[in-house]
């Protein structure tokens, strides 16, 4: 069963939706986290606390809210996205974006605050300064990316609620594990779990190697 066509398709879909959700989270989380870390505006602490709370968002609650929004009678029902891979990507992005955002802000806040002044004092434009700060914090930023990916590849509640676990369409590894367990097919559930663990390990190994290379440089 482990290497049949269906498993391959489920694995591929899992990787696609989680990778895309992580990428979108990065595109949202990196600039917004940077703004929160470097900005000096009223309500910054409040916004940071909201983002930090968002890092612990229960996937099942996200799934419920996205499902209600995308439901046929819901405010975004006209888009007909419920029970599609896009719905899973939306839910997973909502889960991982605060993780990337919060860890980005923390990574930049951990740098010496005078570094900004030093870079500006050397004639950096605002964008050059931000680029250099990202470069300086590249290791914790990579950790933010790993945490963002980890939060979505392993979640099941949201994918189940907004994807519907439809065979050949929205079934991903985690929802397939739940299904096999509910059927009492523990050997299949265990095999899928092992596959998920191996994939997660390989991706994190690759990111860790990049991180360590960055450390040696």
């Amino acid at each position: 069963m482990l290497f049949d066509n269906e498993i391959f398709q489920i694995t591929l879909l899992s990787l696609q939706v989680s990778a895309l959700a992580t990428l979108i989270s990065l595109l949202i989380g990196l600039p917004f986290g940077t703004w929160l870390a470097l900005g000096n505006f009223r309500g910054r602490s409040f916004m940071l606390s909201i983002v930090n709370t968002g890092m612990a968002l229960p996937p099942v609650v996200v799934g419920l809210v996205v499902a209600i929004s995308l439901w046929r009678s819901g405010p975004l029902g006209g888009l007909r996205l419920i029970y599609t891979p896009v719905a899973i990507i939306i839910a997973q992005t909502i889960i991982s974006a605060p993780v990337v955002m919060g860890l980005t802000a923390a990574a930049l806040e951990s740098l010496d605050p005078r570094l900004q002044q030093q870079l500006l004092g050397l004639g950096a434009s605002r964008l050059q300064m931000i680029w250099m700060l990202w470069r300086e914090a590249r290791l914790p930023l990579l950790a933010a990316l790993m945490a963002g990916f980890g939060s979505v590849i392993s979640e099941v509640g949201a994918s189940m609620m907004v994807g519907g676990n439809i065979r050949g369409q929205t079934r991903v590894l985690t929802t397939a594990i739940v299904l096999e367990t509910s059927k009492g097919e523990f050997d299949k559930a265990l095999a899928l779990s092992a596959l998920l663990l191996i994939l997660t390990y390989l991706i994190n190994l690759a990111l860790t190697l990049i991180q360590q290379r960055g450390q040696k440089k």
Binding site: Q117, G121, L122, G123, A124, S125, E136
Partner: protein, 239 residues
Amino acid sequence: MSELISIRGLLIQRNGRDALKIASLGIERGETLAVVGPNGAGKSTLLLALAHLIKPKHGGILFNGKPISHMNDLEYRRKISFVFQDPLLMDMTVHHNIALGLMFRGTNKDEMRARVLRWSKAMGVESLLGRRAGQLSGGEAQRVSLARAFVLDPELLLMDEPFSAVDPPTRSALLKDLSDILSQDHRTTIFVTHNLKEAAQISHRVAVIINGELKQVGAPREIKAKPADQGVKEFLKEL
């Protein structure tokens, strides 16, 4: 000589309180001015204001006769260079650290290489160009930080206690090298220090700031001989 920097009626507030007041101060082109004063007196605030990294509440700073508040921030900052108390080097090689400001300005590679080589030699860090910043000693790191500032050929060099974090022998070696370079280079420099002896060795004039107020400006010997008031006298006694 003409004034490169003119400060007029400057008031800077930080955290809601007056941090620095200067009625009038001019810095001649090619002059080295040392700024001395106790901790928290407002010396670093003056440098940050001169780099336009903090904005004054009142008054202003003229650079070449133009108010810096009317100049484009980036354009203005590319005429100056700032050396902080800590070297604040980036996690890259010494070569890249020295070239950083040139990279920001889009200087071409050949010129960049030549300038980095010239100033790394002048600062005695030529043999360290391939090393990572994290592998340097405190003195080496501060030399790299000085090379990184000089390589930009700034019209105005701002130094905020650049030697306070290094041990005394390294400090006197660095001071001697910097003093030699400045006496040949005639670069307008403002040098913040706690140490009047250090100030006398490196500067043409000394400005004493106490409790956020400029108390006296003059030649080091003059200040020692005739302190402007009791506050300056007390400060000099503590040194």
